[in-house]
């Protein structure tokens, strides 16, 4: 019985993990290329969640079609914040970019709060579910998982098969080297920031497809923290590392939930959060380059 429950939860964890991974790729991409930690990461996820919510509740557009809308909004926000804020700060000390991205996050939260209010919202997109015997998986979750994998594959192809992607890889490896090869490094920074934010806003759509409730302007905070743990798991600068970090994190979170639920007098959800940060500390202490970095 317990093993069935565990196996079922692990499947859920794998599905959620793919979405977590996708939700961290933007953070890792921006860190890898610009060496900037986007503290406002979760706020961009929240924007994606509100895009989904609004399109569905107000216009009846299903979340799958919210994906391209969120991507475009994210790209636009990325370019906007790069050229208005980040560009000037990129050579400044780290504290400047930390404060700036924190401020951008607050700005987004308060703007959304002005428009939509601060209560918790949700939507109900019922498209049926599939019974796997050990667990029941709604199609919405399955779509979100497939969407995450598809986006990760597209990003991989972009990085390895296109000229712009090659330029990005070269900047990740050595920006000065890229510059002497004639790569427009400033342009790569702008594009990478935009794509990073685009991915992050899009992940907000996918996350609400997994958890379609609890949408409110301040929902991003917990995702920022999770994304940091996942990014560190995956070696920080690699979007694919982040994706696999997400899978690992999803499995651990869901697996440990099942086990913690067996303990008397504990709130298993609170303990999984404790576990994730204990993990972050441990990784930073033992393997600061990330679990998945072989070199």
């Amino acid at each position: 019985m317990i093993f069935e429950q565990l196996a079922g939860n692990l499947i859920q964890g794998l599905v959620l993990g793919a979405i977590y991974g996708m939700a961290t790729m933007g953070l890792s991409l921006i860190f890898g290329v610009l060496k900037v930690v986007n503290v406002g990461h979760g706020a961009f996820i929240m924007v994606g969640a509100f895009v989904t919510l609004w399109l569905f509740n107000a216009l009846g557009i299903i979340p799958i079609f919210a994906i391209p809308v969120a991507l475009i909004i994210g790209l636009a926000l990325g370019f906007l914040f790069y050229y208005t804020v980040m560009r000037k700060l990129i050579k400044a000390p780290e504290l400047a970019t930390l404060l700036a991205t924190f401020a951008i996050g607050v700005l987004l939260e308060e703007t959304i709060k002005l428009i939509f209010g601060s209560e918790f919202r949700g939507y109900n997109w019922a498209v049926g579910k599939i019974n796997l015997g050990i667990t029941v998986l709604p199609f919405t979750k399955l779509y979100a998982c497939l969407g995450s994998v598809a986006i990760a594959v597209l990003l991989y192809l972009w990085f390895n098969k296109t000229r712009a992607g090659t330029a990005m890889r070269s900047v990740v490896e050595d920006s000065e080297g890229a510059r002497v090869c004639g790569v427009n490094v400033d342009g790569v920074y702008a594009l990478s920031f935009a794509i990073g934010i685009g991915l992050t806003v899009t992940s907000g759509v996918l996350l609400t497809m997994f958890i379609p409730v609890g949408i409110n302007p301040y929902m991003g905070g917990s995702y920022t923290l999770k994304a940091f743990v996942i990014a560190v798991l995956g070696g920080l600068a690699s979007p694919y590392g982040a994706f696999f970090g997400g899978l690992v994190f999803g499995l651990i979170e869901n697996g440990s939930y099942t086990l913690f639920a067996l303990l008397p007098n504990v709130e298993p959800f609170a303990l999984t959060r404790f576990l994730s940060f204990a993990m972050l500390l441990l990784i930073l202490l033992i393997r600061p380059t990330g679990l998945l970095r072989a070199k």
Binding site: R163, E176, G177, A178, R179, V180, C181, V183
Partner: protein, 235 residues
């Protein structure tokens, strides 16, 4: 070919270049000498645009390129072999070289340039599939020079290309530099700490001190002037 007039630049509030002026004639090897930390690297990086010029003027083949972004300068045929290599260590040798042909102009002739580069550095062809980071220091320096050649430059600036290399390899690097000049007709602006070898290779020499050009002259004259050698080069 390249003319730098009263250039001023630096990092943050710290001024490094105090109006040096110099000229690099087409087809020449021009050497910029001087002790560590006098602004030689900063001058090269300002010419390429990875450090922003504050004041002064940079002209290349008659065009004012002072404020042109770096990638546009690479399009015009200027490139830099940076100090400390700056290779893409996670990529293979061949991928590094192909990155050099990133600009559209260079990409067109990628295969021909690659063949030329491999004929100059046969060992790189053998190492083509290896990660650049796994090569020895001397080989990595070759990749850096080869990668710069892949941009199809007319003017190639080299920042300490012999730094950290064994004496035998230093000789090879200088041989390569002379070969690039005589056989391919590249114009070279060379920054070096190895004054003796540079004086031999160069046609014309500028000596830099504290962000300023202190003296200049044909390499032979500088080499023969014991005053200059003693005062600025310590040899």
């Amino acid at each position: 070919m390249l003319r730098v007039e009263n250039l001023e630049s630096g990092y943050g509030p710290m001024q490094v270049l105090w109006k040096p002026s110099l000229e690099v004639k087409k087809g020449s090897i021009t050497s910029l000498l001087g002790p560590n930390g006098v602004g030689k690297s900063t001058l090269l990086r300002t010419v390429l645009g990875s450090v922003q010029p504050w004041k002064g003027k940079i002209t290349y083949e008659g065009i004012d390129v002072t404020l042109l972004p770096t990638h546009k300068k690479v399009d015009l045929g200027i490139t830099l072999v940076p100090e400390g290599k700056h290779l893409f260590v996670g990529m293979t040798v061949q991928e590094n070289l192909i990155m050099g042909a990133y600009r559209k102009e260079a990409l067109k002739d990628k295969d021909d340039t690659l063949e030329l580069v491999y004929s100059l550095f046969p060992v790189l062809k053998e190492r083509g599939k290896q990660a650049a980071g796994s090569l020895s220091g001397g080989e990595q320096q070759m990749v850096t020079i080869a990668r710069a050649l892949m941009t199809k430059p007319k003017l190639i600036m080299m920042d300490e290309p012999s730094q950290g290399l064994a004496p035998k390899l230093v000789g090879e690097v200088f041989e390569t530099i002379e070969k690039l000049n005589t056989e391919i007709g590249l114009t070279i602006l060379l920054v070096e700490q190895n004054a003796e070898a540079s004086l031999k290779a160069a046609d014309y020499v500028y000596i830099m001190h504290e962000g300023r050009i202190k003296t200049e002259g044909p390499a032979k004259e500088i080499a023969e002037s014991s005053d200059i050698r003693e005062a600025y080069l310590g040899i």
